[in-house]
Structure formats: C-alpha cells, structure tokens
Amino acid sequence: MKFISITLLIVSLTLFSARANDFYPEKQALKAVKTALKEKDITIKEQVGITKWLEKTEPLVLYSFERVNGETFYAAFTHSKGRYDYFDYMVIINTKFEVEKVKVLKYRSENGGEISSKKWLEQFIGYTTGYLHYKRDISAISGATISAMSISRDIPKVMDTVRANLNPQ
C-alpha cells in the first residue's frame, strides 16, 4: 500500500514537471530560429525562462538571441490546440515587444494545417498587445477554424507572458 502510494506520488509529480523541460531545448530552438529567419549568424544568449502561461499549464520556453551586429531579440516556443491535437509554434519578438515572425513548427492533425501558411501568419507581424478578434483582426481560414481561433487567442497571451517575464515593471 505504502509502496503503491509513493510510486503514484512520484509518477504524478514527474509527469507534472517533465513536459516543459524537454520542450524545444536550446539546440532545436536555435535551428528553428535560423531556419525561420534564413540567417546563419545568430547565437543563443540565454534561456530566459521556462514558464507556464498565465492561468495555464502550457509550456512556454523563452530564449534571447543575438545577431552579429549585437542586436538582441527573443523567441518564445509554445503550443496551442487544434480540434484534436496540439501544434507547436514559435513567436519571434524584438526588443520593442513587437512580433517579428510567427512560424508553426509542428502541425500534427490531418486537418487545419492551413494555419501554417506563411502568408496567413504574416498577419501577426507587428502585433504588440490587445485582444485579437478572429475574422475581424485576423482573417478567417477555411478548414482550419479551430486552430486559427486557437492561435489568434493564444498569441496575445504568449506576448503578455513574455512581457511579464522580461519586463516585470
């Protein structure tokens, strides 16, 4: 009985904390950023934080990067949910806390992958803060409604979390 209880405790604690730590480790994150920006001379400065979203348990891994000219920027790695599956994406953010780029890194479902369209994701470029109304601020994408609504609602939360982490004032 005691053994079973302790085992259950350990298993549940492990499950609870393990996910965020292996979510987009440094090497994978750097590769994703270089590919997305088509720039080779980028170095990873530090992992700014592994955190959970506000009011959520989603992993959000945030790194700072540096270009050769000394320019710093950030990239947040997180995921959102489509109808049945999670999809991973990266939000690249400049020091003014504006979105520079959003890229879907892994889309798992058979339907809804349309949100990975480079053109559709360009709508988030320049976003800083505030509610994004799907269909009004972000154009609809047929066949991917749930995923499109999901990422449109989550990016503002990602940005809020990032801002709170980097600039608590």
């Binding site: 499950l15 609870f16 959520k56 348990t57 480079k118 559709w120 066949g143």
Partner: protein, 394 residues
C-alpha cells in the same frame, strides 16, 4: 495514517494533473474523453452527429415528416509516433447501418510529403471532405454533393499529401479504387450518376485503378480555392475469370465499364460576418451508349452542376463563440446535361434547388438549423421541404 496521507497526496496531485489538463485549452473546452486521455495520450476520440426532421410540403397532398438520426460518427485516432498516425471514423447511419467511413494511416516524411493509405475520402469539392454538420449551412448537404459528387464518397487507396507553407498550398494525390459500375447488372443511372456504385471499401473489387487529386490554395486573406480532379474507369465484375482469348466476353466486359473524368472547382470566402461558398463540378463519362445498352440504364454522358451560397453571421461582433447565420443557397445541377447513343435527355434531371434558412451555433461544435428547400426541375412542378436539424462535432 501515514499511508492514507501519502495516498491522499498522490490522488491530489493526480487530480491536479487532470484539473490542469482541463484548463489547458483556452477556447475549446475539453470533452470527457480528452480530459481522461490528457494531452500526452496517443489516442484521440471525437465524433459528429446529425439529427434531422424533414417535412415535405406538396400542394394538395398529405405528407408525413421524417425524423432521423441521419448520421452518428465516432472518430478514433492513434498517434504511433510523432510521424505516424492512424485515423478511423465509424459511422452509424439511420441508427442501424454501420459503416467505416475512413480508416487510413498517415506517415509524415516532411510536412510537404505525407504518405497516406487505407479507406479515404475522395478529395472532390468542399462537402465530401468537410461534411461534419457544423461546417455547412442547411440541415442537408448541398444536393450537388449527392447527385454528382456522391458524398460521402470514399474508397480504398494510397498516395501522397502535403502542405507547402511558403506557397499557401495543400495537395492530395491518391490512386484509389473506382466505382462498382457493373456487378451482375449496372449500378449507374441517370438520376444520381455514380451514387449506387460506391464501394465504400466493403469487399470492394477492382479491375483498374483511378486517380484523384486536389489542390487547395489559401494565400489570399479570407479566400480558399480548390481544384479537384478524378480520372479512371469504373470497375466491372465481368473481367474476373475472363479467358484472355475470349474476344466476345472481353467486348461485353468493355461495354460494362465507363470512363470518368470529373473536375471540381470550389471557393470559400469569409470577410467579417460575411461568408460565401461556391462549387462547380463537371463529369464526363465515356462509353455510356454501350453501357446503357448492356445494362438498360440511362446514365448521361455528361453531368454538370454548381451552387453558390452566401450567409451573414449576425453575432459576428459578439465576444463568444455563438454564431447566427441566415443563408441562401442556389443550386443548379443536371445529371443529363449530355447523353449519347440515342438516349433522350430527361428534363427531370435538370434541377434547380433553392435553400433558405438559418443556423444558430450555440458553441463552436453545436448547431441548431432550420431551412426551407424548393426543389425544381425542367419537367415537373417544384416541391418544397421544411427541415429542422441538430448538428454536433467534437
């Protein structure tokens, strides 16, 4: 006492885990199965259902209404690895008929290159692939997607699909089994073309494969454009066991198949509360004179149809997921747009349907529908039908 305390803590933590999962989606609430299965689970459970009430209205006649659990479909997906997935949909039609609607394996080599094989939907037009009742206006699917595109059209096959994100393009290309056009008699007919020839993967037989392709382009904000093609011959049981030297037998078997070339163009547009859809299908059938002569059927050599539909979400500016969409759909389809071999065109197959109604989406996955349909053709008086429906998708 200590044991009980540890057990209580263990259960508490597990409960927290489940609670955490419950709060995980910000917009789509988790259903019971998802909550239990949690995000790291490899198993997905979902489903959709369509419950209809159809009341024909014929002048000068009494008509009984029909109440039907038209479709109840259970979806199961299993993620074997990050790259390999199996997906199936088990359909119960009219409460008592069981079908497997889809059952395929998908292996992702790259996002732009996936291998897919099994029982799959033929990618033609909009509704055959997106047929869940919360995805279309009206209680019933468009009639074009019944009489010319025989939804839900699925066959066993294999091929490739993928997305090219930089070009906002999705493609599908499958080699698939074709319709059963002849099995101790012909199955195709003038009124609904290929509908009775669907094999649905149930002990289906093949005498020659067909090719189905679809390209979707979504690089213009709010717009999605589709181009579908389907090419091949129908299948015939007469080839099976036929002696290769039997010229007469071969000639008869050749008469029992038709060649099919179908083209589909579709568009979906949404801007603000406005939404519109349109679809065009053209199907050319070769060898229909011989086929009709052999089988006594009246299959047309060309079927042509289209529909346009527009609606407006009156709750567009609300902050919740509810939608209230009045809509109108105009359909024109002719399964005898051309005939050959002396077969007279049946004007009753030259049809015009108008559907006017509204859908109230209580939530993203639940809709109540009401509409009135007018079915007209070039030969007889038009008929009306009032429909009420409940649609869900989770």
């Amino acid at each position: 006492m200590i044991q009980k305390t540890i057990l209580a803590f263990a259960l508490l933590f597990m409960g927290m885990g489940i609670y955490a999962q419950e709060k995980k989606t910000n917009n789509a609430p988790l259903n019971a199965a998802e909550r239990l299965l949690a995000s790291d689970s490899k198993l997905t459970i979902g489903g959709y259902a369509q419950i209809d009430y159809n009341q024909p209205i014929v002048e000068g006649e009494y008509s009984n209404g029909k109440l039907d659990v038209h479709r109840l479909v259970l979806l199961f997906g299993y993620q074997f690895s990050e790259k390999t997935k199996f997906l199936t949909e088990i359909e119960v039609e009219h409460v008592k008929e069981i079908y497997v609607e889809q059952a395929f394996i998908n292996h992702e080599v790259k996002p732009w290159l996936n291998f897919r094989g099994g029982l799959m939907l033929v990618p033609m037009g909009i509704t055959n692939e997106y047929h869940e009742p919360t995805t279309f206006n009206g209680v019933e699917r468009p009639n074009l997607d019944s009489k010319i595109v025989p939804t839900t059209w699925r066959e066993i096959g294999a091929g490739f699909t993928g997305r090219i994100d930089n070009a906002s393009l999705k493609y599908q290309a499958y080699v698939m089994n074709g319709f059963n056009g002849y099995n101790d008699g012909g199955t195709f007919r003038g009124t609904d073309g290929y509908r009775k020839g669907r094999q649905k993967g149930a002990e289906s037989f093949m005498s020659s494969p067909t090719l189905a392709t679809k390209f979707d382009y979504y690089g213009i904000p709010g717009l999605k454009l589709g181009l579908s093609t389907y090419n091949g011959k129908s299948q015939s049981s007469l080839y099976h066991g036929l002696d290769k030297d039997d010229a007469a037998g071969e000639a008869k078997a050749d008469s029992s198949v038709i060649g099919i070339s179908m083209l589909g163009l579709d568009a979906r547009y949404s801007k603000g509360g406005f939404e519109a859809k349109a679809q065009f299908n053209l199907a050319k059938n070769s060898n229909t004179a011989e086929y009709n002569e052999l089988t006594g059927k009246d299959l047309g050599s060309e079927m042509l149809g289209w529909y346009v539909e527009a609606g407006y979400d009156l709750l567009f500016n609300s902050d919740n997921d509810q939608r209230l969409v009045p809509f109108v759909r105009y359909e024109k389809y002719n399964t005898h747009s051309k005939t050959e071999g002396g077969l007279a065109q049946n004007k009753a197959y030259d049809r015009t349907d108008i559907t006017i109604g509204a859908g109230w989406w209580l939530a993203q996955g639940a809709v109540l529908k009401a509409d009135y349909q007018m079915f007209g053709n070039e030969l007889t008086d038009s008929k009306g039908q009032f429909n009420l429906g409940i649609g869900i998708w989770f």
